[in-house]
Symmetry: C2
Subunit: 632 residues, 2 copies
C-alpha cells in the first residue's frame, strides 16, 4: 500500500507521525484511493479532496469516544483507511466487501449508515444533546459538504443548533461542487467567497483565528470581534451561519494539514456550536479528476494513467431511453420542462439540458423543493418532469401528497434507480416507491419494459391530466418486446400466451419473466406473461380474468413484497371476492439489502429468469391436479 499507511492500524497510530510524515501519508492515501477506485469504481473526486481534513480530524479527536458524522457519506474513504480497514479497502463496493459509505456494521467508527444528504447536522445535534443531558464531554463533529448544506434538512439542523450549550463542531467541506456544480444562491455565494479568497488570505485567516481564539473557558464573544475585524468582511459567510446560532470560522485551506490540526485542536475546546469553513479541491492530486471532477464524482472503473473509463458503456440504459424520449417529446411540446435535484448526469437530463437549456432546472439536493416547484409550474400549464432516484424521492412524499396529488396536477415523476441499485447499497435501494405512492388518491403508477414503452409511457404521462409516476431501474434496457398497442391508462399488455401458469410483471421484470417463460417451456410448462404496465390503476378487467382462470398467478416485481404489485392484486382479489386462486409473490424481502452488483443481488433474491422459473415450477408442483405429474 504505502510505507506509512502500512503501519496505520488505528487512528492512534497517526499520533506517532510528525508533520512531514502526515503529509507523506496523505499522498500514500491518495495513491491507494486512486488505484482502488480505478479498479472498483466508486466516488473519487470527493475522496481525494478530503484526505487532509480526514487525517486532521482523526489526529485531533478520538472517535472511539468522540463521534464523527459524515454527511452523505461517500467521502469516507480516508476515514475507512485509517480506522482499521486498510486491508479490506481493495474490496470497497464489491460484494461482501467494504461499503462505499459509512456502515455501522463495519466499524464502531461509523456512527451512522448513511447515503442521503443533509442528515449529519441533525443526527450530530441529537448526539450532542445526549452528551449534554448526561454531562459527558465527548466531542461531536459533523462534516457537511457545500451541496449537502443547501439541503433543507441541514438548514433545519443548523437552525436548531441553539439547543446545544456545549461543544459541537460542524465542518463545512466546501469544494464548490456537489455531484454536479452546486446549485442555489447559497452555493453561488460560497463560490464568490472562494474566488475572492486566495491561499494567502486563507493562511492569514487561519493564523488570525489561532492568535485570537481564547483558551478553554474564556469568553468567546470579544475574541470573535477581533477575529472578524482582521478579515475580509465584504463577503463574510458568517452572516448566514451566525444568525443560525453557530460561531463561524473561516474560510481556511483544507489541504494545509498542519494548520488544520492546529485549528481543530483549538476549536474543539470551544464550548458552543462552531462552524469551520474549509475550502478543498475535488480530485486533488489526481489530474484527470481534478480537471473533470464531475465525471469522477462517481465513476466506473477507469485506466489509471489516462483516466479513461474502462467499462464498455455501449448498452443503452433505462435512463438513456428516458432522456432520449423526453428530448423527442419536448421538441413538439413547449410545455415540457425538466427538473433534477443535483443529478443531471445520473438521470440523463444533462442531455435534455443540452437541447433545452432554458427548460431544465437543477435545484440542488432539494428533492422536496423539486416536486413543489414542479407543482407550481404545472399549475401554470407546464408539464414538468421531475427525475429523482427512487430512494431520494422518499424526501418528496409530502409534496407529492399535498402539492401534486391533492391538486391533481400533471406532474410527471420519473423515478430512476427504482428497485435494486447495486454498488451503492442499502441507502440507495429503491424498494418502496410504489408502496408509498400507491396510497395517494389520483396517483398513477406505471413502468416501461423496453425503449418503445419508455417513449409510450412518457408520452402517456405527459398527456394525462394528473400526476403520473414512472419507475425504471438502474439497468440496461432490454430488447424491444415488439410492436404493441399504445400506453393507455390502466391497461396491461399480454406478451406471451400459456395455459399452465400466468406471470404478471412490469418494467424490466416483464422482460425477465419472458425469459423465464421460455425456460419453463423447456420444462413443459406453458406460462403466460402479462406486462401489467400499471400498478395503479390496475388493469382490473384483465386481472380478474387471470385470477379466475384456475392457474397459479406468479407476480414478479423489483420492489418490496410489502405494498407492491402483488399486494395490489391481492387487494383486487379481496374486493372482487375472488377466492380460489393461488397468488405467488416474488419481490424484495422485508430487510435492507446490502451492496453488490445488481445482477448478483437479483439472482440471490430469485428475481432472475432462473429464480422465476423455479418459482413457477414450485407453484405447479403445489397443485397436483396440474400438469406437473403428466410431465414427469
Amino acid at each position: 500500500m504505502g510505507e506509512l499507511l502500512d503501519h496505520i492500524d488505528s487512528p492512534a497510530d497517526l499520533n506517532k507521525l510528525n508533520q512531514q510524515e502526515l503529509n507523506q501519508l496523505a499522498q500514500e492515501i491518495r495513491t491507494v484511493i486512486s488505484e482502488t477506485v480505478a479498479k472498483n469504481g466508486g466516488h473519487l473526486a470527493s475522496n481525494l479532496g478530503i484526505v487532509e481534513l480526514s487525517l486532521a480530524l482523526h489526529h485531533c479527536f478520538d472517535f472511539r469516544y468522540d463521534r464523527i458524522l459524515w454527511d452523505v457519506g461517500h467521502q469516507c474513504y480516508t476515514h475507512k483507511l485509517v480506522t482499521g480497514r486498510r486491508k479490506e479497502f481493495q474490496s470497497i463496493r464489491l460484494e461482501h466487501g467494504l461499503s462505499g459509505f459509512p456502515d455501522v456494521n463495519e466499524s464502531p467508527y461509523d456512527a451512522f449508515t448513511v447515503g442521503h444528504a443533509g442528515t449529519a447536522v441533525s443526527t450530530a445535534l441529537g448526539m450532542a444533546l445526549a452528551k449534554q443531558l448526561r454531562g459527558q464531554s465527548e466531542k461531536i463533529v459533523a462534516v457537511v459538504g457545500d451541496a449537502g448544506v443547501t439541503n433543507g434538512l441541514s438548514f433545519e439542523g443548523l437552525n436548531n443548533a441553539h439547543l446545544i450549550k456545549r461543544q459541537l463542531l460542524v465542518v463545512l467541506n466546501d469544494n464548490s461542487m456537489a455531484i454536479d456544480v452546486t446549485q442555489g444562491s447559497m452555493a453561488k455565494y460560497l463560490v464568490k467567497i472562494r474566488l475572492t479568497h486566495t491561499y494567502e488570505d486563507m493562511k492569514k485567516t487561519s493564523q488570525h483565528i489561532l492568535t485570537h481564539l481564547p483558551v478553554l473557558g474564556q469568553p468567546l464573544a470579544e475574541a470573535l470581534v477581533h477575529i472578524r475585524q482582521g478579515l475580509k468582511t465584504t463577503l463574510w459567510p458568517g452572516q448566514i451561519f451566525e444568525p443560525l446560532g453557530l460561531r463561524y470560522f473561516g474560510p481556511v485551506d483544507g489541504h494545509d494539514l498542519n494548520t488544520l490540526i492546529d485549528l481543530l485542536n483549538r476549536l474543539k475546546q470551544v464550548d458552543e456550536p462552531v462552524l469551520l469553513h474549509v475550502i478543498t479541491e475535488k480530485g486533488k492530486g489526481f489530474e484527470p479528476a481534478q480537471s473533470d471532477p464531475r465525471s469522477f464524482h462517481s465513476t466506473k472503473p477507469f485506466h489509471l494513467e489516462t483516466g479513461k473509463v474502462l467499462a464498455k458503456s455501449g448498452e443503452k440504459t433505462y435512463s438513456d431511453a428516458f432522456a432520449e424520449s423526453l428530448i423527442k417529446l419536448a421538441k413538439n411540446d413547449q410545455r415540457i420542462v425538466a427538473i433534477t435535484a443535483a443529478m443531471p448526469d445520473g438521470t440523463g437530463l444533462n442531455k435534455f439540458a443540452e437541447q433545452f437549456p432554458e427548460r431544465m432546472f437543477d435545484v440542488g439536493i432539494c428533492e422536496s423543493h423539486a416536486v413543489a416547484m414542479a407543482a407550481g409550474l404545472a399549475k401554470e400549464g407546464f408539464r414538468p418532469v421531475v427525475a429523482i432516484y427512487s430512494s431520494f424521492l422518499q424526501r418528496s412524499l409530502d409534496q407529492i401528497f399535498q402539492e401534486v396529488a391533492l391538486q391533481n396536477l400533471p406532474v410527471v415523476l420519473a423515478i430512476d434507480r427504482a428497485g435494486v441499485v447495486g454498488g451503492d447499497g442499502p441507502t440507495h435501494q429503491g424498494f418502496m416507491d410504489i408502496a408509498f405512492l400507491r396510497s395517494l388518491p389520483r396517483m398513477v403508477c406505471c413502468s416501461p419494459a423496453d425503449a418503445p414503452e419508455m417513449e409510450q409511457a412518457l408520452d402517456f404521462a405527459l398527456r394525462y391530466n394528473g400526476p403520473v409516476a414512472l419507475r425504471y431501474p438502474r439497468a440496461e434496457i432490454g430488447e424491444n418486446l415488439g410492436p404493441a398497442e399504445e400506453f393507455r391508462l390502466g391497461k396491461s399488455r399480454s406478451i406471451r400466451q400459456g395455459k399452465d401458469l400466468c406471470i404478471v410483471a412490469y418494467g424490466e421484470c416483464a422482460q425477465v419473466s419472458l425469459e423465464a417463460a421460455k425456460l419453463l417451456a423447456k420444462d413443459g410448462i406453458e406460462a403466460a406473461v402479462i406486462n401489467a404496465r400499471f400498478v395503479k390503476p390496475l388493469d382490473s378487467e384483465a386481472l380478474k380474468r387471470i385470477l379466475k382462470a384456475d392457474r397459479p398467478v406468479l407476480v414478479v416485481e423489483d420492489h418490496a413484497l410489502i405494498g407492491g404489485l402483488a399486494t395490489a392484486i391481492q387487494e383486487l382479489a379481496g374486493r372482487e371476492a375472488i377466492q380460489n386462486v393461488q397468488i405467488i409473490a416474488l419481490g424484495l424481502p422485508d430487510s435492507f439489502l446490502p451492496h453488490g452488483t445488481r445482477e448478483t443481488l437479483l439472482k440471490k433474491i430469485g428475481l432472475d429468469a432462473e429464480g422465476i422459473r423455479q418459482a413457477g415450477r414450485k407453484a405447479l408442483l403445489a397443485k397436483p391436479k396440474e400438469i406437473s405429474n403428466s410431465k414427469k
Copy 2:
C-alpha cells in the same frame, strides 16, 4: 356583517374605498372573524394579525391574474371574506361549508389547497418560473410566516430564488409566534429584530424605502445601498436573506394599512425576487387572543365576551392518555425524552414539558429534523419519543427510513391525528401512515385501543430495541376494554367471541367494532372481535387460525384501504396460500376526504358501529350456507 364589508363582493370593490374606509373595513373584518370563530372554532389569532396585510395585498394586486400563495394557509380568512365568500363565511370549517384553508375547489383566488408549512415559496417559484418562460407579466406573491420560513422546504425554496429573473414577492409575516412560540435560532434572531425596532423605527424604515426605491426599470443595487445606510444595521435580517438571492426590505409595520399599500405598490414593480419583512401582532384587536395567542391559535368555540372556551373538554382524548402515560413512564426512566415539531399543545407534550422541561425539545416546524435528531439521541442510548401528526409525518419518511429503521434505533413515533381528523380537512387527514411505514424493514406499527393499552403500548415501545410507531386518532379515548395481557410484539387480543363472523380491527376501531358486534348480536349474528394491536408484525398465528375458520373476516380500519391492515392480512393469506376465505375490508376510500366532523365523516364512510354492522350482515348474506337464512 358590517356596513362596508357588505359591499365587498370581490377585491375590486376595495379600490372604491378611501384610506379611512379601508381601516374601518379592517375593523369590521376583525369583528366578523372573531364572531365566526367564537361559534365554529378555528384559527383565530393568526387571522386577526393579518387583516391589514391581506387587504393591502388585495388592494395592490389583482389576483384574478396575479397569484397569491398562502403558506400553511390557516391565515386566509380575510382573503376569503374579500374574494366573494363573505356570505358563506359563517359556514367556515363546518360540513359542506367553507374550508378553513385555501381550497382550489372554492375559488379561483385560491391557487393551492394547502395546510402544511413551508411550501408557498417553492410553489410560487414554480409559478414565477412559468411566467418567466412565457414572458408573462402577472405578479406572484408568497406569504410566509416566521414559523413556516424556518421549515427546511422554505429554505430550499429561498435558496432557489435565483432561478427567477423577474418579479417575485415573498412577504414574511413575522408575528414572532408560530402555533406555539416559534423555535429555532432564526426565530430568536427575528425576535431580537422585533424587540429592537419600535413602531417609530418601522415607520422610518417604510418612508426610507419609499423615498429611495427607484421607479420601474431603474437599477436597484445603488438604491439598496442608500436604503440600508439609513437603517438600523446592527441587526439586519437582510444578512440571512440576501445571500439567498432575495432583496430584503423591512422590517415594517404590518398594521399600518396605508403605508403597506404604498410599499406594495412600489415593490411589485421590482423585477427581481424581493422579500418584505412585515411585523404583525397575533390576535390583534381581540384582547383575549392578543394576550394569549397560543390558546387562540386554533380554538374550539368560545364565549365572545370572556374568551372562555365553550366546549366541554372533560373527556380524555388519545393525546391526553399519551401524555399521561409518557409522563408516568418517564418518571422511572431517565432515558425517555420527547420531541415535538411545533405542536406541544396539540400532542399533549406541553404537559410533559411541565414535568421534565429539560427532557422535551420543540424543534419548530421541522418534522424531518425532529426524526433525525431523535435518531442521534437514540444512538447515544436515549429513548426519544417523537410526537407528530400523521399527515405531517409524511415529511419524515426518509429520515424514518435512513436514520431510524436502517440503523435499527429505538425511536418511538407517536403518531397523533392518525385517521380522519375532521375540521382541518384533506391536508390533515392521516390516512397513509401505515402504508408508508409498513414497507420499511424493522418497523413495528401498533395502536392502542384504550387508555390502559396506551400505557402498555408506550411501555412496550420504550422497551423495544428498534423503531416503533404508535398511531392514534384525534378523538376521545373510549371506555376501557377491561383487563388484558400485556402488549407483546406482534400479539393480538381477542375482545369478543363469536362463531359467525370475525371482525379484526385495532385502536379506536376495535372499540367501535365491539359496539358493532353488540348490534349484530341483536340481529342474531355472533361476531368475534380481534384487537390486532399490531399491523406490523402481524399476529400471524392468530390470524392464520382466523383465516382458516370458514367465517367471513371483516377488517375495520381508520386508514386508507390501500396499504393498511386489511392489505397486510391479504398479503399474509397469500404467503400462507390460504384461499377459501372472504376478507372484507372497511377503511378510507381512495380519495381525498373533505372537512367535516370526524363523526359525520366516519359515519359516511361506514366506519361507525352501524356501518360495520351493515357490512357484517352483508358479508353473511353473501354466504348463503351461513346462518343468515336460519335467522330470517
